[in-house]
Symmetry: C2
Subunit: 246 residues, 2 copies
């Protein structure tokens, strides 16, 4: 059976406190959700809904932020936000800041992003995307009776390869990794590829129907069999001690 | 319109010189391909078809390979194959060898893989996956008249995150990156996320219908609008001088 990826178009802009499930269920596609669907929400609408949109005029950059901003041709207020969202600087070179965020994500600019918000504003990553996903999943269950999984997706760069891809930054109702450990391949040999990050693959797949400019902040993946054991972002984060590139 | 990902099941094992297009067109799903479809083939069947399956009994490991194998608890013949496929060792630690291959890919074990082949054998990456993809695309056009794109997909780990995901290692008839440079978001602001590696996202999406043990080495992505300008693996490879992690 073929897997389907269905875009959910939302006409309105999302503001702090909006009910994302109401917004979803206002759409015809949203009302068609079925048990076993996976709903993928962009980081951007979660951040907006949770009030993680920051007015840059309220930011007072530190001397350090001003110094980095000068060297990197960035807005000092943006650099201040990046530093505030950074637990550890992983790389800072060629005008690029790669941070480890308090959530443990390793990404450019600690996820601080000025796209798809009004001029003079920036969004930060949700504080706890697993919790954001769980809230949505429970509300959908309460309002529709449907058992679905929720992923929060963001667009990250990666070492070695050009271009960015979407990965999961939060989840509820889904185990993010399929573990083939000890399983046998078609030649009855133990498989060496043991763990597939299906949550990241699903987020990447959802990006294909979303694009970056269309008002499509939600997508539905249908007909995918997955383990409904509740996973978390932590399952996807490599421990620094095991990481050959930190 | 929703995007579809359709698995193509193949019952037989692929051998050197097999006609993969004939194998595809023997299946009902394969015969249903349409103009604009993207066909994703696993590295494994391409390598088998191209004779990149190596009999380990024919490998004479060097002293270096024997030394590394001893320290890393690996088969010295496998280490020899890895060294033969390595242009530069990027990291060698914790029993893991990360290589840059002659094709420019950065991956574990230079792509040398013992899964899904008989005991005593290993597969190497195709020598030129773009060429492999081009051959298949042309043959499909000749046999069916259909204009499709072809991606060759492999499963790689990545820094920072647990689990592996599929990425593109070769292509024909598709531009692998969507460039939003200078485009405007919904707030008429220039987008900062400029380049999306859609070829990698499509390969990741195709992995979801394939799994690792089922005989499903081909998948079809349907209803995705893409730029048919012919791209290449090189478009996806970051230049070492621009890479913060090499």
């Amino acid at each position: 059976m073929s897997l389907q990826i269905i875009p959910v178009s939302i006409l309105e802009d999302i503001s702090f406190g909006d009910d994302l499930v109401d917004v979803l269920l206002k759409t015809k596609v949203g009302r068609s959700i079925k048990d076993g669907d996976i709903l993928i929400f962009t980081q951007k609408i979660i951040s907006k809904q949770e009030g993680r949109k920051i007015n840059l005029s309220e930011i007072n950059p530190s001397l350090l932020a001003i110094g980095i901003a000068g060297a990197y041709e960035k807005d000092p207020r943006i650099v201040q936000l990046i530093l505030d969202e950074t637990k550890r600087i992983v790389r800072m070179k060629n005008g690029i800041i790669i941070s480890q965020t308090p959530q443990g994500l390793v990404c450019a600019n600690a996820g601080v992003d000025e796209s798809n918000v009004e001029k003079g504003f920036a969004t930060l990553l949700p504080k706890d995307s697993d919790k954001s996903a769980q809230k949505i999943r429970r509300k959908i269950k309460a309002k529709t009776g449907k058992d679905i999984a929720v992923l929060i997706s963001d667009t990250f760069g990666r070492p070695f390869r050009e271009g960015q891809t979407d990965v999961a930054i939060g989840m509820s109702g889904i185990s993010p990794i399929v573990d083939y450990k000890g399983k046998h391949d078609t030649f009855k040999r133990i498989l060496r590829v043991t763990e597939i990050a299906i949550a990241d693959e699903i987020c990447s797949a959802s990006e294909l129907v979303r694009g970056k400019m269309s008002g499509t902040p939600i997508a539905i993946v249908r007909n995918y069999n997955f383990d409904k054991k509740n996973g978390s972002l932590d399952d996807l984060l490599r421990n620094k001690s095991l990481d050959l590139f930190r």
